[in-house]
Chain length 328, copies 2
Amino acid sequence: MQGLDIPDAAISGIDILVSEVGPRDGLQSVSQIMPTETKKAWINAEAAAGVREIEVGSFVPASILPQLADTAEIVAHALTIPGLTVAVLVPNMRGAVAAIEAGAHKITLPLSVSETHSLRNLRRTHDQVLAEAKEIAGLIATLPAERRPHFEGSLSTAFGCTLEGPIPDAQIARLAEGLMAAGCDEVGISDTTGYADPAAVKRLIALLHGVVGVQALTGIHLHNTRGLGLANALAALDCGLTTLDSSLGGLGGCPFAPGASGNIVTEDLVFMLEAMGLRTGIDIDRLTAVRDILCRAMPGEPLYGFIPDAGLPLGFNTAGARRIKEAS
Amino acid sequence: MQGLDIPDAAISGIDILVSEVGPRDGLQSVSQIMPTETKKAWINAEAAAGVREIEVGSFVPASILPQLADTAEIVAHALTIPGLTVAVLVPNMRGAVAAIEAGAHKITLPLSVSETHSLRNLRRTHDQVLAEAKEIAGLIATLPAERRPHFEGSLSTAFGCTLEGPIPDAQIARLAEGLMAAGCDEVGISDTTGYADPAAVKRLIALLHGVVGVQALTGIHLHNTRGLGLANALAALDCGLTTLDSSLGGLGGCPFAPGASGNIVTEDLVFMLEAMGLRTGIDIDRLTAVRDILCRAMPGEPLYGFIPDAGLPLGFNTAGARRIKEAS
């Protein structure tokens, strides 16, 4: 499917696309409502640090997630930032319509591979979500080529569900095929529950690459609930995935206790990638400085991450940091 | 070299040997002195949870590390636990003599690949440490076969030094060769400074396997200072290493701040390994319960780890846990 031009800068000169999901996944799990201007400042600062893709919000009813009620305004702002891919989550057709009207580059529809979780979370069966995916893809197909967003179906609770436990491979494979058949451009996988381990990550990616093809699964969304987030990211890299979701300060998810953070931490992920010689385009020092915006806006909200405390190793220098300094 | 019989249970029926270093590396970085009886209870409880190897102390002068002044008594106690491999650290020949007298199964002599660090830490040049290794190996060779401990030379600051920065590969290779030439049974590598990343782990292991052979490098000692500990462990597993050091509650190292823990956390490491289908022989629930001993003995001392807070995934069952339950 042809689509909206993803900004060239988002993919040029980097090896791995780090997709910041803090303004969406992070803020939806924080009870405080961040002011719109603060969100804009956060997004500006991350983009200035070199982040190429940000999931800036979710088109859900404000009655459910008042924290994200300003998503349309945030999308409009983010679209003014050169080179930034503006991604949003949509729970349904109604959200997709709003996302398309707002002009988002990328929309993600979650499909929980646990039907129990799907019914509780979206109040829809698998078939209903697949039908909605088809309707959204149909709408996108009616748009002029230059207005078509990239459409991802995201397999959530892919590594097990807190209600059902492990989900059979055959069911996950069938749902991935269903999303592609419905007209998604690609599928993603999401460890919503923090149940993944490196072996499971490799096994599931291999399974799905076999089902939908290597081109149709390039990204993964990991949580760090059980401390394996970066090990799981490493396993995904080993399988050839090139897009990794993460959240500044590990904001998001359902922390059980201090230390049990939600999403994998953008600062630590970027450090790992750059240390391994994988270019992210991101300046770690500038990225870490963005935490100040969150600290000031949400006093008392815990931020996670090791690099902000420990600092970079002596003599450490990243390709990304060098490139940004040369250009500025 | 023939050696003391490592207890059969330590290596039978498991894929990966998790070597607990908390009573040594953990306690040496805690200012409180843990009572000897508490140390014994801790070691008993970890062994009962299925841990097969514990570094129980260090033979250093009590004036330097009063926390470990009771190491001889701890070794004597640990030797009474069936199936447990009793390991100790020794900084020099004097410590090795004490370790051998105490009957430790395994002794580890650190050699910092950063000579600046070696001079500051052990007050010895590389050549002096290598000479000491040769002297220790000579002493071991004079012992009857059944009293010879396994002798490891551990390359510390192997991934870079806070004083020198990165250490040249050629220097590390030369020191590894030097330790083997001096008569060590094997070399280990230690990320003393928390500088390692998965690519560096793979590169260094490949280098050293080329230099000393695969059989002479089977273990790694990792810290989690920058959050990459388990990702680095995964990289080491990928290279075929089979012994991983870790510390209950992540005790040890030089925490910079809450969250920046020292050693990789035994509870989380065992969870990762068992989740991947690698048998450790360790029951995670019983292991996690051992934290109570540390909490009671050292109130206020932070313990790290995600599994103790988040709990095991729904439906999770480990081969190790099953085996222990069947046997009891």
